[in-house]
């Protein structure tokens, strides 16, 4: 029997990085492990791109693992939404890989580098697995694969506080994952199925008789996944985890991990519950909107007062996740498009910003704002990228961030809630303050001691930063691949709603 690669792409998307992780664990030399991780990561966007192309041509793909048909077997189900997220996660990781070599060699001891790449590949496996699977319990297993490897990645930070951050995240993350399992368990009790599509079709009839367990299941799933995606006020683990993890791990996690959790959230909301019961009767959207607005303001203000730049960007991430969940909470075509496209755009912008900080740490040895006077003049290209991505975070026209906020504002207007538009603009102004503060110090202060010896990093660190910064501008003008596909995904999700 001939092995048809195209037919098995969904499985390869997860199996290749999983095997890569096992192989990397046996390697000794960091550079060899890095080479392996780069090759594996480099294959991922090709597979994801192939899947997205197939989905756009021929509709959703249903892959039956081991030949067992759903709902009995585990189904990998690829539609526009998760093909989009797969491509995002794999492409951003692939762009970041060249950066990893020097950054990891600088921040992690020689004999631990191979383990670092092994954990990174395992984390990637988990993230891609959550995204591609159509089975609710399988998603839990992948969630834990990615979480456990994330705890290790964070604990590998140089500072001893990295250990505390990893421990804190382990506690919170495990509570979140356990809440998720409880929710899935309740759904299984009510519907007798674990396949997401199957659950959705059985939930509607079941809801007449068992409405209460369904609401409880939704509550558990929402809280569990919200812990993972750091929805305010469940974000407490995130700032320290991002601040003390190795730079590459921070950039990778900020760009991908929370995005995948958001994807799972969208899946649960729209593809499982939204199809079966009307979301309005569950009254979750208003709660979500309120929490999102709180995140957009409170986390942004916290970012303004933060001295450690990595922590500042981490708080900014919490605020930006608020925009994404804001779009989910609007639950209409434009709002959801805005949420999904911000998921994409934020990954690019935050990736660029965290990589730039990684380069600063590599050259200047610190990311404390007070010690970085004049660094922008010393590292002109790195900081040019920082400013461009920063403008994207603010939402300046001409950057990707503007596109997301435009759709979010349209979504709010479609519901006739114009005060929400005002809130989007007002919270963006706070982003202007915290990004502006960095620009002021980096360009207009006297050159500090740490900045004196700094210069732009070597090309293999610089290119990923610049690519992501250029992408921020590119997707501010050409939105076919970002907003176009996000709108298609939103259309499918909204169209299925009851």
């Amino acid at each position: 029997m001939r092995f048809d690669v195209v037919q098995h792409l969904p499985a390869l998307q997860v199996v290749i990085p999983l095997l890569g992780a096992v192989l990397a664990a046996f390697l000794r030399r960091g550079i060899v492990a890095w080479g392996l991780a780069s090759v594996v990561t480099g294959l991922m966007p090709l597979i994801a791109g192939g899947l997205l192309w197939q989905v756009l041509q021929a509709g959703p793909i249903s892959y039956h693992l081991g030949g067992w048909p759903p709902p009995w077997g585990i189904e990998y189900r690829v539609d526009v939404l998760n093909a989009f997220v797969l491509l995002l996660v794999s492409a951003v990781s692939a762009v970041m890989m060249p950066f990893a070599r020097r950054s990891v060699a600088f921040e992690i001891e020689g004999d631990k580098q191979a383990s670092f790449y092994s954990m990174y590949l395992l984390c990637l496996t988990g993230l891609l697995g959550i995204t591609i699977t159509g089975d609710a319990f399988n998603a839990f297993v992948f969630l834990e694969i990615s979480s456990l490897s994330t705890y290790v990645l964070i604990a590998m930070g140089r500072d001893r506080r990295a250990l505390l951050a990893a421990y804190q995240y382990l506690i919170m993350g495990t509570i979140g994952a356990t809440f998720y399992v409880i929710g899935v368990g309740l759904l299984y009790l009510v519907t007798g199925s674990l396949n997401m599509v199957d659950i959705a079709s059985r939930l509607g009839p079941a809801s007449a008789e068992h409405f209460r367990p369904i609401v409880v299941a939704l509550a558990f799933l929402t809280v569990g996944v919200s812990l993972k995606l750091a929805l305010f006020p469940l974000h407490v683990w995130l700032p320290n985890a991002y601040a003390f993890a190795p730079s590459f791990a921070t950039a990778f996690l900020a760009a991908t991990a929370t995005k995948v959790a958001v994807y799972l959230f969208i899946r649960i909301f729209f593809s499982i519950f939204g199809i079966a019961v009307s979301l309005e009767s569950l009254r979750v959207c208003d709660v979500l909107l309120a929490l999102s607005v709180a995140a957009m303001f409170i986390a942004s203000v916290l970012a303004v007062y933060e001295q450690n730049l990595k922590r500042m960007l981490a708080y900014s991430s919490v605020a930006q996740i608020g925009y994404i969940t804001f779009g989910i909470g609007l639950a209409n075509q434009n709002g959801l498009t805005g949420g999904a496209v911000h998921l994409f755009n934020h990954a690019l912008m935050k990736g660029a910003l965290f990589l730039a900080l990684g380069a600063v740490l590599y050259r200047a040895g610190t990311v404390k704002l007070a010690e970085l006077g004049g660094i922008g003049r010393r590292m002109p290209l790195t900081f040019a990228a920082f400013v461009i991505a920063g403008l994207g975070i603010i939402g300046t026209p001409g950057t990707a961030g503007f596109i997301s906020k435009w759709y979010l504002a349209l979504g709010a207007l479609d519901q006739g809630r114009w005060p929400l538009v005002f809130l989007i603009v007002a919270s963006s102004l706070i982003a202007l303050v915290y990004i502006g503060r960095v620009v002021e110090v980096a360009y207009f202060r006297a050159t500090s001691e740490a900045a004196e010896k700094a210069s732009d990093p070597p090309w293999n660190m610089l290119v990923p930063i610049l690519v992501l910064a250029v992408a921020t501008v590119y997707f501010g003008f050409f939105t076919e691949l970002s907003a176009g596909i996000a709108a298609k995904a939103a259309q499918t999700l909204i169209g299925g709603l009851k």
């Binding site: 319990f137 839990f140 297993v141 834990e144 456990l148 705890y151 290790v152 604990a155 001893r160 506080r161 250990l163 505390l164 990893a166 421990y167 382990l170 506690i171 495990t174 509570i175 994952a177 356990t178 399992v181 409880i182 368990g185 299984y188 009790l189 674990l194």
Partner: protein, 121 residues
């Protein structure tokens, strides 16, 4: 009387929920990092019960294809929970490893002492 019957009929679920809540309470209330992990393990373990209990049918056998047996217990929850047990063990092991490293780095595993030390620096 009816309430008593409901309670006795579902006593296993009450035990499950009691374990679940006490596990979560320990995680939140205790400052000792090992005790927190014990609470976390209790919390996770109680979920295993939540899955397995409904799968049991009184008088049901294991799912063996034989004309002599008509009533089967559902085997799927057991399989799921086997996976969840592996995850739970891995989490606990990793948690303990991190606590061991924290003890090396700080000389204590009491959260308030560590935070006080961090605040001083």
């Amino acid at each position: 009387m009816q309430h008593v019957q409901t309670f006795i009929g579902h006593y296993n679920y009450f035990i499950t929920i009691f374990l679940m809540v006490s596990g979560l309470y320990i995680v939140i209330a205790r400052g000792n990092m090992i005790k927190k992990l014990v609470g976390l393990a209790l919390f996770q373990t109680s979920v295993y019960l939540l899955y397995i209990e409904p799968g049991k049918i009184i008088g049901g056998t294991a799912p063996i294809l034989d004309p002599a047996f008509k009533v089967y217990s559902n085997p799927l929850p057991h399989v799921l929970i086997l996976t969840a047990i592996v995850v739970g063990v891995a989490t606990l092991a990793l948690g303990l490893a991190i606590v061991a490293r924290i003890h090396e780095a700080y000389g204590t595993i009491e959260e308030d002492e560590i935070f006080a030390r961090e605040a001083q620096e």
